[in-house]
Amino acid sequence: MDVIGQPVLQLHQISVRYGDRRILEDIDVDVFPGEFIGLIGPNGAGKTTLLRVILGMLAPSTGQVTLAGKPTRHGSQQIGYVPQKIHLEPDTPLRGRDLVGLGIDGHRWGMPLPNRSRRQKIDEALCAVNATRFADAPVGRLSGGEQQRLLIAQALLSDPKVMLLDEPLSNLDIRSAYEVVHLVSEVAKSRGIAVMMVAHDMNPLLPVMDKVVYIANGKAVTGRVEDVIRSEVLSTLYGYEVEVLRVRNRIIVVGGEGGEYGLLEPSDRSRCAGEEVAAP
């Protein structure tokens, strides 16, 4: 995509350490308005950690995050966040629109006063994510995909410049996953919001993804999918032989010794030898 102007969000030399464990090292990413970025990597790579750094919830050991040129701060309205899932009982007295409304002023003290413009904003956000149909149903009884849309609407309501989504697809079937990705991409493009979406499987993101940030081994490669998701690049990143297969518009990353699909780290058999197995 042709990006004009300045990056809205810049990650500059971000490193995170827990004690002497290095989780992330020298991560540099520039995010431009309206861009859709996939944040991909194996479990424990540090994707959630990176989002927490961007949100200002975790101070990086080194480096800086700037939003529109200024350092980010925790609680900024400019960054929308969509959590993975909500756990609510079916009988929770909370409608879709109440959940969405929390995106406007949920962080303020006191009760919300019903007024026209508040209602309009909520309706508009519900409409943008195609959620008007179930806006008045109790949230706890909605499906995972429907709840996900409400969460996106909630994040939209603070008028963010950047939207971060942590594995929003992990509980959805393939169709809903594609739907949610399209929805996010469309809404974001039309409002010039940059999106960073964490996903395990990058395939649903392929049609809309402008850039991929692939994290593994504490390091990240950033760039267009064609440039990053290649055998040489990922092999260097992982530090062992990894192969990228393209099958019918799908990308499959195969690694280690004979994994059938997905990415398997090479197992270290020697470590298991003689190790006591906890009695079940």
């Binding site: 959590p83 007295p93 303020r108 003290w109």
Partner: protein, 278 residues
């Protein structure tokens, strides 16, 4: 009529105190209980008044206003749960804090002379449980609870349903959690003299769960919970006056009855919906 509204029901000064404080604590319980049910904190609501009970027993032992003991211990319990619960399993911490409270309560009861009768009243509630002095304390504390719940409403709801988003938006979820624990503790503590330590949590669970069956709107559910709770306490007080049976029994039985009724209503309604949508 005279059997239901026995003479003196509305004129006895202690009944006036009971009605006044009963109404207040019921309303507070309904409002706080709304969040208790949303957050699934029934165990906390169950545990804190019992810890408060230990404080009351201690206050009786050293001869001060039991209300102070109640509130002090419930507060300490809430803070302990908040502090220890951050790491480690929540329900385990609640259970152990409860055990600590009840253990001390058992000791205080044994050491003071009011072993049986006084303890019974604290555990199961009594009509003459509220003195004039306690009434004033109750009014003050209830007022504080109202204000805090109103202030906390949005961040608490936000943190209860989408915790990570609330955190990301700058809600200090840890502080909100702790503050809410404190509110539960204080609100249940003032309920104890009327309804009793063992059963005051009925008011925090029954009416809000009932309300949740009748409406999906949070504001209405809260108001409804408070109303059901107040009605429950009023009926319980009248019946308690007539029969001399423990107030806690009536409160628990009525809460269950209302809940069962609401369950039926919503089942019928949902059945109707299903039919009409065919």
């Amino acid at each position: 009529m005279t059997t239901l509204f026995a003479p003196g029901l509305f004129t006895q000064p202690f009944m006036l105190n009971a009605f006044l404080s009963g109404t207040l604590v019921a309303a507070v319980s309904g409002l706080v209980g709304f969040f208790v049910v949303i957050r699934g904190s029934a165990f906390v609501a169950h545990a804190l008044p019992r810890i408060g009970f230990a404080g009351a027993a201690g206050a009786v032992l050293v001869n001060i206003n039991p209300m102070f003991g109640l509130v002090a211990f419930a507060l300490a319990g809430a803070v302990t749960m908040g502090g220890l619960g951050k790491k480690g399993q929540h329900d385990v911490v609640i259970a152990l804090t409860l055990v600590a409270g009840l253990g001390t309560g058992a000791l205080f009861l044994k050491l003071s002379n009011t072993y049986a009768a006084g303890a019974y009243a604290l555990l199961f509630g009594q009509l003459v449980g509220v003195s004039r002095a306690q009434l004033y304390t109750t009014i003050a504390i209830a007022a504080v609870c109202f204000v805090v719940v109103a202030l906390l409403y949005r961040p608490l709801l936000f943190a209860s349903v989408t915790r990570e988003s609330a955190h990301a938006r700058g809600v200090r979820v840890g502080a909100v959690d702790l503050l809410f624990l404190v509110v539960i503790g204080v609100a249940t503590a003032i309920t104890v003299p009327v309804v009793g330590a063992l059963l005051s949590f009925s008011l925090m669970i029954g009416p809000p769960a009932t309300a949740a069956h009748l409406t999906h709107r949070p504001g209405r559910a809260m108001a409804l919970a408070a109303i059901i709770s107040v009605i429950t306490v009023w009926i319980a007080l009248v019946l308690g006056y007539d029969t001399a049976w423990p107030i806690g029994f009536f409160v628990a039985a009525l809460s269950a009855a209302f809940y069962g009724g609401a369950h039926l209503v919503s089942a019928v309604r949902r059945g109707g919906e299903a039919v009409s949508s065919l």
